[in-house]
C-alpha cells in the first residue's frame, strides 16, 4: 500500500510539474528559446494569489472540503493576469528586440536568466524570505480503503490539470488561434507568409502559457508552501525534464513527462535516501537524451499528436 500512496503523491506532484511544463513547452515551441525564467514566473503567480488572499484579505470562507475559500477564484485570475502582463511586457522590451535582431536563441536564453534572477529578488524583497501559506488551518486528508490518504486539494490539483490539458487541446485544435500557433511553431516565416500575424500569435502564446504557469504556481504553494526560491531549486529542472521527455513543443507530452517525473521522483524514496530525490529528474533527463533526444512523443514535425 505504501507504493500506491507514493504513486498518488507522485501523481499530484507530477500534475504540478506537468502543468508548468505545458506552459514551458508552449513558449519553447512557439518562441524557440528555452525560457529559464519560467519557474520564477510560477513563483510570481503563487505570490500574486497570496497578495489577493492574504494581503488584500479576500478569503471567502471555505469551499467544501478544500483548504481555501472562494477568494481563490479571484486570486487565481489575478495571478494569471499579473503573470500574463509581466511576460507580455518582458517580451515587448527584452525578447522581441532580440528576436528582431536575430540574436541567437542561446543569448535570448541568457537574457531570460537575467529576468529570473531579478524577478526572484523582487518577490523576495516584497514578500520576504520565510515560507508562507495561503491558509493556516489544518487540511484534513480523506482516508480510503486500505489506508490510502488523499487531501481534497490534491484531487483538485489532478482534476484541474487534466481539465486545463483538455482545454488547451481544444484551443490548439479547434480554434483559429490554435491553428495559427501550431503554424508559427512549425515554421514561423511560412506562417507569416500565409498571412498570420506571428507577433500577435507570440503575445497570445504568452497569455495562454501564463494561465498554466500561474495555476501551477498556486498548486505548488497549496501542495507545499510559497517559497521565493522555488524556481531554480525545485521546479526548473523537473519541468525541463518533462518538456524534453514529451518532445519540445508537445503539450500532452509535457503532461505525461511531468507525471513520469513526479511519480518516479516520489517512488524513488522507497529505495533511496530522500536527499537524492532531486537527482531523479536529472537522471531521467540524461536517459532520454541518450536514448531518444527528440522525446517520447516527439517526431520530426512538432505538435503532431
Amino acid at each position: 500500500m505504501d507504493i500506491l500512496q507514493l504513486v498518488i503523491v507522485g501523481m499530484v506532484v507530477g500534475s504540478i510539474i506537468g502543468l508548468g511544463a505545458m506552459g514551458l513547452t508552449l513558449t519553447f515551441g512557439v518562441l524557440k528559446f528555452a525560457n529559464f525564467a519560467h519557474a520564477d514566473l510560477m513563483t510570481l503567480g503563487m505570490y500574486l494569489a497570496f497578495f489577493v488572499i492574504v494581503d488584500v484579505g479576500i478569503v471567502g470562507g471555505h469551499v467544501g472540503p478544500f483548504s481555501f475559500g472562494w477568494g481563490m477564484i479571484p486570486a487565481v485570475l489575478f495571478a494569471w493576469g499579473g503573470v500574463a502582463a509581466f511576460t507580455v511586457g518582458v517580451d515587448r522590451f527584452v525578447f522581441r528586440p532580440l528576436r528582431r535582431r536575430e540574436t541567437d536563441f542561446l543569448s535570448i536564453g541568457i537574457a531570460s536568466l537575467g529576468v529570473a534572477i531579478a524577478l526572484q529578488a523582487v518577490v523576495q524583497a516584497i514578500w520576504g524570505s520565510a515560507p508562507l501559506r495561503y491558509h493556516s488551518e489544518i487540511h484534513r486528508a480523506l482516508t480510503f480503503a486500505g489506508g490510502l490518504k488523499i487531501k481534497p486539494d490534491q484531487i483538485l490539483i489532478i482534476g484541474l490539470t487534466l481539465a486545463m490539458a483538455v482545454a488547451l487541446y481544444l484551443l490548439l485544435h479547434r480554434t483559429r488561434l490554435g491553428t495559427a500557433m501550431r503554424a508559427t511553431s512549425d515554421n514561423a516565416p511560412l506562417a507569416e507568409a500565409s498571412g498570420i500575424d506571428t507577433e500577435r500569435v507570440r503575445i497570445a502564446t504568452w497569455v495562454i502559457a501564463s494561465a498554466m504557469t500561474a495555476v501551477a504556481g498556486v498548486m505548488f504553494a497549496l501542495q507545499s508552501q510559497l517559497r521565493f526560491d522555488a524556481g531554480f531549486e525545485f521546479l526548473l529542472l523537473p519541468m525541463f525534464a518533462a518538456v524534453i521527455l514529451g518532445g519540445i513543443g508537445n503539450p500532452w507530452g509535457a503532461l505525461v513527462g511531468g507525471l513520469i517525473v513526479g511519480i518516479s521522483q516520489e517512488l524513488s524514496t522507497e529505495w533511496i535516501n530522500t536527499g537524492f530525490k532531486p537527482g531523479v529528474p536529472f537522471l531521467l533527463l540524461i536517459l532520454i537524451l541518450i536514448v531518444r533526444p527528440r522525446g517520447l512523443f516527439g517526431s520530426e514535425t512538432q505538435w503532431s499528436t
Partner: protein
Amino acid sequence: MLPVDAFTSLAGEAPALLPPLITFGGSVNWTVGFLTTAAIFAIAALALNVQWGYTGTINFGVVAFFGVGAYTSALLTLDAPGEFESYVGGLELAIPIGWVGGMVAGGVLALLVGLPTLRLRDDFLAIATIGIATILRSIANAQEGLVNRARGLNGIPRPLEGFANDMGVDYDLVLLVLTSGVLLMVFLVVRGATASPWGRVLRAIRENEATAQSVGKMTTSYRIQSFVLGGALMGLAGAIFAHRIGTIAPDSFDNLTTFLVWTMVIVGGSGNNRGVMLGALVVGFVWFGLPLIQEELPDFLGTRVFMLRRIAIGLLIIAFVLTRPQGLLGEEPRVSRFAPRGDGGGGLWPTGLWSRIRGQPGGGAA
C-alpha cells in the same frame, strides 16, 4: 540540520570576508579581501569564458564544479576525521596536491555531464546543468560518511600561513599575492589555449557547427575538451576558495555564485579573456560594494540591499545582452595569436604587443 553561516559562501549574503569600511585601515583590509575574492571569481570567469565565450556552450552549474573542486581539495588535505566527524579522505596531503585534485575533480565532473549532452542541441546541456548543483548539494547534505553532511568541513589548512608568520607579513596580503599569482597562471594557460588554432576551432563551432564539421573538425570532441578545461579551472577556483575560507558546507555553494560568474562574463565581454577579468572586478565591486552603503540608503532599500544587488545583476545581464552584447571589451577579430594581423605584423609572437605599446590602433575590438 545545523545552521551554516551564510557568509561561508563566496557570493554570500553577508560579506564577513570583507570587513566594513570604518577606518582607513578598514578600507585597506576591505580592498585586500575584495581583490582576493575578485581574483577567485576571475579564475571561474576565465573558465566559463572557455565554455561560453569561445565555444558557445552554456553551463548553468558553475558552482557545482566550483564546489566539487573545493570539497576534493579539502578532503585531500584535511586531517583524518575526528570524533564527531565523518567524511572520506582526510589524507593530510600538501595543499598544491589538493588544488590539482580539485582541478581533476572539476574536469571529471565536466566529462560525466558533457559526454551524454554535448553531442546534442546547445540548449540541452544548459538544461542539464541547471540541476547539478542542487543535486550535489542535497547528496552532500544527505549522505552520511561522505563529506560530513551539513556540519561541513572545518580546519581546512591555509596556504603559506607558516611562511607569513615567519616573515611577519600580513597573511591577507600573502593570500592576495598567491591568489593573483594563480590567476596570472590561469590567464596564461587559457590564453595559450584559446588564442591558437585550437581556440579558432572552438570559435568556428560557436559560429556554425555544421560548417566546422564540413571542414573536417570533430566538433563533439572539441566541445568536450573545452567543457572539461573550463570545469577543471572552476574546480581550481573552488579549491582556492576552500583553503582561503577554512570552512565549507554544502550551503556554501549556492546558485548565486553561478549567476555572479555569468554576469561577470557577460558584462566583461564574452570571448575576451581580459574582458572577463575586468568583468570580475567591476561586477564584483558592485556586488560586494553595495552592502557598504547600506546605511546611506533609505530604509526601505537599506534593509533589502541583498535583494537589491541581485536585482541589479539580473538587470545588468538583460541590459548588456540588449544594448552591448559584446560586453565592456568586445572580443578581438583575430582568434589565433599566430595568425597575421590587420596591420601586417608577422605571425610569430603575440604581435599586437608592439603596436599597442606604440599606441597604434591594432586590429582591436570591434
